[in-house]
């Protein structure tokens, strides 16, 4: 019995704008499409995993969704590390499937973030004035930091230490946009230049509007099982070659090094488990919440030395046709970012490894690396996927 963990089904709900779907419906539509794509019976699913967090008023935690979907599971996991949850899920499921804790598992995510925000527009943001705040956020909440601000502090420090420039960060957004132009569903598909990024409004210095990801609706699902079971299924299996996760902090106040991430631990571990080196990787799926997120991941995972990410980007290495094409679905920057993007990294990597990516196909793609960032570059999950049996 070959219990090598594989991905055999992938599904997306509707994006970037789906006003008729709530968060739970995004989970469910993606799950139905992943089950159909895998060619399995729903009754085979004996493991269920999700990270919650995407349903707004709807409850989409793992036990509620397991009930809604009526999955008779032997294995359940609700690990929530923010946007990287799904890379951690791959790590956990790979172990569970090898161990026999389950045979066939479903992972789902769904969020109606854009449509929900639209419905609430004008009623204010995330902070209630005068509210009492508990937990570690009590040391931050009074100052009015923003999500962008936290990432911006990485960019400020990285520029200071290594001379990284706004132009170099903008090149990342431009490269991802070029892929978005190949994706008819992407949120933003107009051609974009470095100057466009630099002349867009400053949100939190030094990050401009076009350094920031889109806000969309969306959902995704994937199904993992054994290589044995995959032999009878219609789609070519995508092998989980290695996966690892690590955490340096959660709240931004507890980061101590604003030039790197926990990817420095998780990246080499995931590649090591796969028995591969950086040179074996054909394409990258990075959590591109912001351009700086990609640069920090690129360096901390070890694809370039620290401080060399900026020049590496400027040479076009992350673009279509480059050495390490990045975010071939148009990324969170230009295509789809409903709040926790990590699941789309796995789905797009699988699509590439199956050779189903159409105009965006990376030629001869054998190994893809997905790196999710959760929180504020806090929890980094890395999954190395391939289309050849290890």
């Amino acid at each position: 019995m070959d219990r090598t963990p594989v991905i055999v089904g992938i599904g997306l709900s509707e994006y970037p704008v789906a006003p008729d779907l709530d968060g739970v419906q995004h989970h469910v539509l993606a799950a139905r499409r992943a089950i159909e794509d895998a060619g399995i019976d729903k009754s085979e699913i004996d493991g269920y995993v999700n990270a919650g967090g995407g349903g707004g008023m709807m409850v989409d935690d793992v036990v509620t969704m397991a009930e809604y979907l009526r999955i008779n599971h032997r294995y359940i996991d609700g690990t929530m590390t923010g946007g990287s949850s799904f890379e951690f899920h791959v790590q956990h499921l790979a172990a569970a499937i090898r161990d026999g804790a389950c045979d066939t598992a479903l992972v789902t995510y769904g969020s109606d973030q854009l449509s929900r925000m639209g419905r609430r527009l004008g009623t204010g943001g995330f902070t209630r004035a005068g509210a009492r705040v508990s937990g570690p956020i009590q040391y931050e909440a009074a100052y009015g930091n923003s999500l962008v601000g936290s990432y911006a502090m990485y960019a400020t420090r990285h520029m200071h230490e290594f001379g990284t420039t706004s132009e170099q960060l903008a090149e990342i957004a431009v490269g991802v946009r070029e892929y978005a132009m190949l994706n008819p569903k992407a949120m933003y598909r107009d051609p974009m230049t470095v100057d466009d990024v630099l002349s867009s409004r400053m949100i939190a210095d030094p990050l401009h509007k076009l350094d920031c990801c889109a806000i969309t609706d969306g959902g995704g699902a994937f199904i993992m099982t054994t290589a044995e079971r995959a032999k009878d299924l219609p789609k070519p299996p995508v092998y989980v070659l290695g996966a690892a996760g690590a955490q340096t902090h959660w709240n931004i106040s507890q980061q101590v090094d604003f030039t790197t991430s926990a990817g420095a631990q998780a990246g080499p571990e995931a590649l090591g488990r796969a028995g591969l080196t950086h040179d074996d990787v054909d394409m990258l799926m990075f959590y591109d919440s912001f351009t700086i997120t990609c640069l920090i991941l690129l360096e901390s995972l070890g694809f370039v030395k620290q401080g060399e990410g900026g020049p590496f980007v400027s040479e076009g290495n992350l673009k279509r046709g480059g050495k390490l094409p990045l975010n071939t679905d148009g990324g969170g920057l230009s295509s789809c970012h409903p709040g926790m993007r990590g699941i789309f990294l796995i789905i797009e990597a699988a699509r590439q490894l199956r050779g189903e990516a159409g105009d965006a196909q990376v030629p001869d793609c054998k190994v893809a690396l997905a790196a999710g960032s959760g929180g504020w570059l806090s929890c980094i999950g890395v999954a190395v996927l391939g289309n050849e049996h290890p």
């Binding site: 204010g124 902070t127 005068g130 923003s146 420090r157």
Partner: protein
């Protein structure tokens, strides 16, 4: 150590810390113009924010009163924020301040043009008393 300036406000409409069993003393001291971090009696490790254990060796830490001086380690100028009251105060500076004692803490730098803030800028603490039991630490360029 001498206490630092404590400003009072008539009405505090921003989020207010909820003192707990560990943070109560920290917020109380801040309301009196003193900045506390923690130091471990066993291994000497210093830490912020306050916790019920030393993160290096798990010993119960002790309070250490700080000089209230530090330098900017990194920062951003927030120019967009969706909600009041912060939206009404844009732009403003969020920074990580490296304390003279070692640990870093998150804060805001005031009393200067946001465009004048730089990494390594020396800063000193002051406090805004927001409730009987709470003072919020803020930072401004040293000597200003």
């Amino acid at each position: 150590m001498t206490a630092h300036e404590v400003k009072t406000v008539e009405e505090w409409i921003k989020p207010l810390p909820q003192p707990d069993g560990v943070s109560g003393e920290y917020w109380q001291a801040a309301s009196e113009g003193r900045l506390l971090i923690q130091q471990c009696p066993k291994c000497g490790h210093k830490q912020w924010y306050p916790r019920a254990l030393c993160t290096a060796c798990a010993t119960e830490p002790e309070w250490l009163e700080c000089s209230g001086r530090g330098v900017v380690h990194t920062f951003t100028v927030v120019r967009q924020y969706g909600a009041r009251p912060f939206r009404d105060e844009l732009p403003y500076v969020i920074a990580m301040v490296e304390l003279a004692e070692g640990p870093m803490m998150l804060g805001s730098i005031t009393d200067c043009d946001p465009d004048d803030v730089r990494i390594d800028l020396p800063v000193e603490v002051y406090f805004v008393k927001t409730a009987d039991d709470v003072g919020i630490p803020y930072w401004r360029p040293a000597g200003s």
